[in-house]
């Protein structure tokens, strides 16, 4: 639970080595009426042992970004610019490959990295698992494909160990997906992702379809596995409230761009982008007196016809002429107080006016306890 401590972060997140980074990544979807840009010039850095939360609404480009970073994007999706680099943390004598540009990598090279070093947990475990093959066969399949040397019994043993790792009894090995509960299926997905001891695990809404108690159990499982095995997690979700408790740092996406980034606690305590402020104040509180919350007016942007300037301006209470015409860059947030740590970025023309946040704090309904 180190990452969830209230005192602060065990190792400052900005000092850990980088394991996966995207620079200027853009993704287009080809359509009948021209290309739709789903991801715009995104820089994203995932550090070793970190849980990086990627939050955004449907259509914000969060999943597209993750699939582009792993070269799993399918047509009509097209990476139209940028760089993605995987920095292998293992020394060469242990099979480390150094830094690899994933967008330039040959299929053969990609195949060696995928699953072994970069694994994915998909959203719908019911659809991601093969319904007519037993859990054991699906787990050993991975091992057979990537660890050619192992014998059948060694693979079966490893499959049982993997299930034990995620808290499932080994007598479930012969089960089929439909015989498992939603939570157990998602645990199997996590076990499969961890089968080859990867350095990066990408989780795409792994708990969205689950009940709240099961969701909490899975999140605890992810945290404890991360603490034990020291992999990095890119956790994609639409639920910012979840990330505030789970993630070390959070990147908020809107309209295909990252609009705000920083340590999870800072994002919650002092959001700088009006969209994040709106999101943070969209969760009804579990405590205190009930107060009316306003949410964010309007609807998410239509990417086929994005608004000029800042994509959030039609819904933003602070928009002015500059917002309507010029796209703000993602820039460091000026230190407004001791709570603003390094790595704090926001893309808003108005974030530097200290008054903005105070004014919005009024929208949030007063100070938090």
């Amino acid at each position: 639970m180190s990452a969830l401590g209230v005192e602060g972060w065990p190792t400052p997140a900005t000092e850990r080595p980088v394991v996966l980074e995207a620079r200027g990544l853009s993704v287009d979807y080809a359509g009948h009426e021209g290309a739709v840009r789903a991801v715009h010039d995104v820089d994203l850095v995932l550090r070793r042992g970190e849980v990086l939360g990627l939050a955004g609404e449907s259509g914000s480009g969060k999943s597209t970004l993750a699939y582009a970073m792993t070269r799993l994007l399918r047509a009509p999706g097209l990476i139209s610019g940028g760089q993605v680099t995987f920095h292998d943390g293992r020394p060469p004598e242990e099979g480390g490959v150094g830094s690899v540009s994933l967008l330039d990598a040959e299929p053969d090279q990609l195949r060696r990295l995928r699953w072994s070093e970069i694994a994915i947990v998909f959203q719908s475990a019911l659809h991601a698992l093969n319904p007519v093959i037993s859990i054991e066969a699906q787990l050993t399949d991975v091992l057979a494909a990537h660890h050619r040397g192992a014998t059948r019994s060694e693979r079966a043993e490893r499959a049982a160990d993997l299930l034990a790792l995620v808290g499932i009894n080994r007598d479930r090995l012969r089960s089929y997906p439909h015989e498992l509960s939603g939570g157990m299926r998602q645990r199997v997905m996590i076990a499969m992702a961890l089968a080859l001891d990867p350095q990066v695990v990408i989780m795409d809404e792994p708990t969205t379809a689950l009940d709240v108690v099961t969701q909490r159990e899975i999140l605890d499982e992810i945290t404890s596995l991360r603490d034990r095995l020291d992999f990095s997690v890119l956790f994609i979700t639409h639920d910012l409230s979840l990330l505030i408790e789970l993630a070390d740092s959070i990147a908020v996406m809107y309209g295909g761009r990252i609009v705000e980034q920083g340590a999870a606690k800072e994002i919650y305590d002092s959001p700088r982008h009006p969209y994040t402020v709106g999101l943070v104040s969209s969760f009804p509180s579990m405590h205190g007196a009930r107060r009316r919350l306003s949410g964010i007016p309007g609807s998410p942007p239509d990417l086929r016809n994005p608004p000029p300037g800042c994509a959030f301006h039609p819904r933003c209470p602070f928009s002015d002429e500059q917002c309507r015409s010029q796209q703000p860059a993602l820039v460091p947030v000026p230190r407004l107080g001791p709570e603003t740590g390094p790595g704090r970025l926001a893309a808003c023309w108005h974030q530097q006016e200290a008054g903005v946040t105070d004014e919005l704090a009024g929208v949030k309904g007063g100070p938090r306890r």
């Binding site: 449907s58 108690v213 605890d220 639409h238 409230s241 408790e245 009804p284 306003s294 964010i296 609807s299």
Partner: protein, 346 residues
């Protein structure tokens, strides 16, 4: 409670039970989807039903909408008993009790315009003259804040966002001027930033039109935000009910406490610790004897596995079906962190 003006609940149900027979079991085995649920929906109030999937909360909404006939139970609309075994009079019933479904992307017909969806109930229930339909449609769109109406009436569902579609679905319910609105997870498919707008709209309608609203959800925080009172369901039964703030701030039933310990709460200062012995919701075909929660309950006693707990008044209109609060619950007391102390045996 608005007892000063209203003395009859808009909708009252007692002993609602829904058992679905299992095919091939010769009628011997049934799924206990809902067991003995009673509730009252009052005008101008939102009653939330909170539970996990499989708790029976949607089945309850479907019974109240008369989409399914319950195995047992009685229902009164404005004090008059509704025959549940026949479909007779169901059109009249539907003009009073309306249902909003979870997924607005599939509850509207993709080939028809917004205007068509709103004009249809007006016509079927003869709510507006044919010549006045357009005007009535525009008024409905304004009612759910889709303005200007002329911009929305001609649109097809795929041209609208999820939040806008759910507003259309709400307007369609309002077309027949109902007295009761049953909302089955109305915002769970919507993006976080637009959920509040829809919840606030439901609240406004509830207040202004004096509608009795049933809000079915899995999200305790939104139930606390919107509802006057909350019912918590587990494995087909109501385990706790009471005023919304009391149920969330001082949960009396261990299952409500478990739900709260699991909920995402950015204001939580320490790590979340689940108050459970583990396990999952039970099979509804062969539910556990006694309290259905006893296998997961950290406070389970011997009596919990043998006898179903009675519903105990824990004060302030809050009820919990739990032996910890019953007179015979000798171990009740400090065992419940954060819970309201059980009433002393008198």
């Amino acid at each position: 409670m608005t007892a000063t003006e209203v003395t009859t609940p808009a909708l009252r149900a007692t002993g609602l039970t829904q058992h679905y027979p299992i095919r091939g079991a010769g009628g011997k085995k049934v799924v206990h989807a809902v067991d003995d649920v009673s509730l009252e929906l009052w005008p101008g109030q939102v009653t939330a039903v909170v539970g996990e999937s499989g708790s029976g909360k949607s089945t309850l909404a479907r019974i109240l909408a008369r989409l399914v006939a319950p195995t047992a139970g009685q229902l009164w609309l404005d004090g008059a008993e509704v025959p549940l075994s026949t479909r007779r009079g169901s059109r009249g019933y539907r003009s009073t009790v309306q249902l909003i479904l979870q997924d607005p992307f599939s509850s509207l017909n993709p080939v028809h315009t917004v205007g068509y969806h709103l004009a249809r109930p007006l016509r079927i229930h003869r709510m507006a003259e044919r010549s006045a339909t357009d005007k009535a449609v525009a008024a409905l769109l304004e009612r759910v804040k889709l303005t200007p109406p002329s911009q929305y009436a001609g649109k097809l569902p795929h041209e609208l966002s999820g939040g806008q579609l759910q507003r259309v679905a709400i307007a369609r319910c309002l077309a027949v001027q109902p007295r009761v609105l049953l909302a089955d997870e109305p915002v769970s498919m919507l993006d976080v930033s637009i959920r509040l707008g829809v919840l606030n709209l439901l609240e406004e309608i509830c207040q202004e039109e004096r509608l009795a609203v049933l809000y079915v959800t899995h999200d305790l925080a939104s139930a606390r935000y919107l509802a006057t009172s909350i019912m918590v369901m587990y494995a087909g039964q109501v385990v706790e009910s009471g005023p919304a703030l009391d149920v969330v701030d001082r949960p009396a039933h261990p299952y409500t406490q478990l739900l709260l310990s699991a909920a995402a709460d950015p204001e939580r200062t320490g790590p979340a610790v689940l108050t459970t012995r583990g396990g999952a919701p039970p099979s509804l075909i062969d539910p556990p004897t006694g309290c259905r929660f006893h296998l997961r309950c950290p406070h389970a006693m011997a009596v919990c596995s043998t006898d179903a707990p009675p519903s105990v008044d824990v004060g302030g209109g809050q009820h919990a079906a739990c032996w910890l609060h019953a007179e015979s619950g000798t171990r009740a007391g400090s065992a419940l962190p954060g819970a309201r102390p059980p009433p002393q045996a008198s």
